[in-house]
C-alpha cells in the first residue's frame, strides 16, 4: 500500500483526497444512474401509476401481492427463468469443458479453432436470435430442410412451448459455451505438469485423472464462471424478445420480459416496477449465497 497507511487516526489529508477523487466519478455515476433510479423505481412500485391512470396514488404492497399471486408469474415466468438459468449454465459449462479438454491436447490448428470459438462472443445476442429464428423457420429454415431431407417430420419450432424454449436455450448455449471454453482452457494451460505425469506413470485411467486431478484443480475457475453466468442468465432479455417475444402465448416469458411487458406494453409502470423489484430481490438473495460459496472455494484453494 502507499505510504502513510500505518497512520491510525483518520485524517482527511492528501491521501484521502486522492482516494476519494479516484472513486468520485464512478460513485457519482453509480448514484445518479443506478441508485437513484432504483430508489425511484421502488417508490413507483408502491403507487398506482399507469399511462391511463397517472394519479400515482399510494397503494402500498398491492402490486407485489398481485404479481406474487399471478399464475403467469408463479407458474410460467419463475419456472422458465430458473430452468433457463440452470440449463444454460450447466450445459454451456459441460460442453465448454469438453471442448477445452479436447483443445488442451496440443492439437494442430488450435489458433484457428480458437478464432472460430470467438465468433459467438462477438455476435450480438439480437443477431444470434435473428439467425436462429431464420434457421428454425418452420417452412424455409435449414433445420427443417435437413429434417425433411432425412425423411423425418418437419417441426414447427415456435408454436410449441417446449420446443420454442429449447431453441432459446440452444441460442444461449451457442452464445456462451465459447466463453467457458476460453476461461477453462486458460486455467488448464496454467496447471503444472507434475501431477499429470505422476498419474500417467502410475497408470491411472484418463477418467480418474480427470475426476481426481483436473476437476479439483479447475474448481475455483468453474465456480467463478458459474457465479458470473448465473447472475447474467437471470437478466437475459434480448434473445427471448427477438426469438419468441415470450410466445407461444406467454409460454416462454422469463423474468425480464415479464417486467418489460407489464411496464411498456400494458403501460402499467407501477406494477412493472414492482415486478422489477421482485426480480432484483430474488437475484440479490441468490448473489449473496453465491458470494459466500465463492469465498469459501477460493479460501480452501489458498
Amino acid at each position: 500500500m502507499l505510504p502513510m497507511q500505518k497512520e491510525k487516526k483518520f485524517i482527511f489529508g492528501e491521501r484521502e483526497r486522492f482516494m476519494l477523487l479516484l472513486m468520485a466519478p464512478a460513485a457519482l455515476l453509480l448514484i445518479l444512474f443506478q441508485i437513484i433510479p432504483i430508489a425511484i423505481g421502488l417508490n413507483v412500485s408502491f403507487r398506482d401509476w399507469a399511462l391511463y391512470n397517472p394519479k400515482e396514488t399510494w397503494i402500498g404492497l398491492k402490486h407485489y401481492f398481485a404479481i406474487l399471486s399471478d399464475p403467469v408469474f408463479t407458474h410460467t415466468v419463475l419456472p422458465n427463468t430458473f430452468i433457463f438459468m440452470a440449463g444454460s449454465v450447466s450445459l454451456s459449462l459441460a460442453i465448454g469443458m469438453c471442448i477445452a479438454l479436447l483443445l488442451n491436447r496440443k492439437v494442430k490448428g488450435q489458433k484457428i479453432i480458437q478464432t472460430v470459438l470467438l465468433l459467438p462472443l462477438m455476435v450480438a445476442p439480437v443477431i444470434a436470435a435473428i439467425m436462429m429464428r431464420w434457421m428454425f423457420n418452420d417452412q424455409f429454415g435449414i433445420v427443417n430442410v435437413v429434417l425433411g431431407a432425412l425423411g423425418l417430420e418437419t417441426v414447427s419450432w415456435f408454436t410449441n412451448r417446449v420446443l420454442a424454449f429449447s431453441v432459446i436455450l440452444f441460442t444461449d448455449i451457442w452464445l456462451w459455451t465459447p466463453w467457458f471454453t476460453i476461461l477453462l482452457l486458460a486455467a488448464l494451460q496454467s496447471f503444472p505438469k507434475e501431477p499429470f505425469e505422476a498419474a500417467e506413470i502410475d497408470g491411472t485411467s484418463r477418467w480418474r485423472t480427470f475426476w481426481y486431478i483436473t476437476l479439483p484443480m479447475l474448481r475455483p475457475v468453474i465456480v467463478v464462471c458459474v457465479v458470473i453466468r448465473t447472475i447474467d442468465a437471470f437478466r437475459t432479455f434480448d434473445i427471448v424478445w427477438t426469438l419468441t417475444g415470450g410466445g407461444p402465448g406467454r409460454g416462454t416469458e422469463i423474468f425480464s420480459l415479464y417486467a418489460y411487458v407489464i411496464a411498456f406494453q400494458n403501460l402499467n409502470f407501477g406494477k412493472g416496477s414492482a415486478a422489477a423489484m421482485i426480480g432484483a430481490v430474488i437475484i440479490l438473495a441468490f448473489g449473496l449465497v453465491l458470494y459466500k460459496v465463492l469465498n469459501k472455494v477460493v479460501d480452501t484453494k489458498a
Binding site: F18, L22, I38, W134, W241, F286
Partner: protein
C-alpha cells in the same frame, strides 16, 4: 499436458470432435452470410442454386434509418468505451491500492449492483431520463451505459492492479512524484494491455447491447440492435435484407475481434 505417447488412432476422434465443434459454432454465422448474398428470388431456398448477389447490402444502405442507427451505435459505443475506461480505471486503482472501510464498502456496493438485473434499474431510468430531460438523446443512452460498466470493470481492473507490484509507485513517490503522477506515469503504463483488453470488450458490449437501447431511445436516436429487432417483426419475410443488415452489423465487431484477438482473450480471462 497430454502430449505423452498415445496410439496413433487416438488423434482421430479428437480431430473429429474439434471439426464438429468448429462446424457447429461457425455454421449459424456462415448461414447468415449465405442468406445475405442471395437474390430475393432465391432467399427462401438458401440451400438450393448458385445465384449470388451483393445488391441486398445496397438496399440496406438505402434505408436511412438503418444507416443512422449504425452511426448512432458506433458513436455511443466509442464514447462509452472512452468514458467507461476513464472512470473504471481510476476506481479499480483505488480499490486495489487502498484498504479500509471506504474501499471495502465501495467494493461491496459494486458487487451488489453487479447482481441487480438490468431491467430493475433501466425501467425506472426511463422515468429518470425523462425527468433529467435527456430521454432519447446521446447523453441519455451514454451515461447509463457508462454506469453499467462501472461495477464489472472496476472489479476487473482491481484484479489487474492487484497483480502489479506497487513498489515502483512507492519509488516514484519517494523521488518526489505526486500520487497522481505515480498513478498516471507508473501504474497506467503498466496496465495498458489490460486497459486495451477492457476497451475492446467494452466496445463490443455496447455495440451489441439491446435492452438499454430499447427502453431509453425512441425515434430520435435509433440504435442498430433495436432497428434490427424491429425488422424481424416488421419485415420478417424479407430474410435476405434482414441477414444483410445483420452481417453489416457484424463487420465492425468482427474486425475488432480479429485485430484485437489477443486483447479479447486477455480481457475474457481477467
Amino acid at each position: 499436458m497430454r502430449q505423452f505417447h498415445r496410439p496413433f488412432l487416438f488423434g482421430i476422434p479428437t480431430y473429429a470432435g474439434l471439426m464438429l465443434v468448429c462446424f457447429l459454432f461457425a455454421f449459424p454465422v456462415l448461414w447468415l452470410i449465405l442468406t445475405a448474398v442471395r437474390p430475393p428470388a432465391d432467399m427462401y431456398y438458401v440451400h438450393r442454386g448458385w445465384n449470388f448477389t451483393l445488391s441486398n447490402f445496397g438496399t440496406v444502405f438505402e434505408n436511412e434509418r438503418v444507416v443512422e442507427s449504425f452511426i448512432n451505435s458506433a458513436v455511443i459505443a466509442t464514447a462509452s468505451t472512452f468514458f467507461s475506461l476513464l472512470v473504471t480505471v481510476c476506481s479499480g486503482y483505488m480499490l486495489s491500492r487502498f484498504k479500509g472501510r471506504v474501499s471495502s464498502s465501495w467494493f461491496g456496493l459494486i458487487y451488489v449492483f453487479r447482481c441487480v438485473p438490468y431491467i430493475s434499474w433501466v425501467l425506472p431510468l426511463y422515468f429518470v431520463t425523462q425527468k433529467y430531460g435527456i430521454y432519447d438523446t446521446y447523453a441519455g443512452l451514454l451515461l447509463p451505459h457508462i454506469a453499467v460498466h462501472i461495477c464489472f470493470f472496476s472489479w476487473l481492473m482491481k484484479g489487474f492492479f492487484d497483480g502489479i507490484d506497487p513498489s515502483m509507485e512507492y519509488a516514484a513517490l519517494i523521488d518526489g512524484c505526486t500520487r497522481w503522477g505515480a498513478f498516471f506515469r507508473v501504474a497506467l503504463p503498466a496496465a495498458l494491455p489490460a486497459i486495451s483488453a477492457l476497451g475492446v470488450l467494452c466496445w463490443l458490449f455496447t455495440w451489441n447491447e439491446f435492452l438499454f437501447a430499447l427502453i431509453l431511445t425512441g425515434e430520435r436516436v435509433p440504435m442498430a440492435t433495436v432497428v434490427m429487432a424491429q425488422f424481424v417483426s416488421e419485415m420478417g419475410i424479407e430474410w435476405n435484407l434482414m441477414a444483410a443488415t445483420a452481417v453489416l452489423a457484424l463487420v465492425p465487431a468482427f474486425l475488432l475481434t480479429l485485430f484485437g484477438q489477443k486483447y479479447v482473450i486477455k480481457g475474457l480471462k481477467m
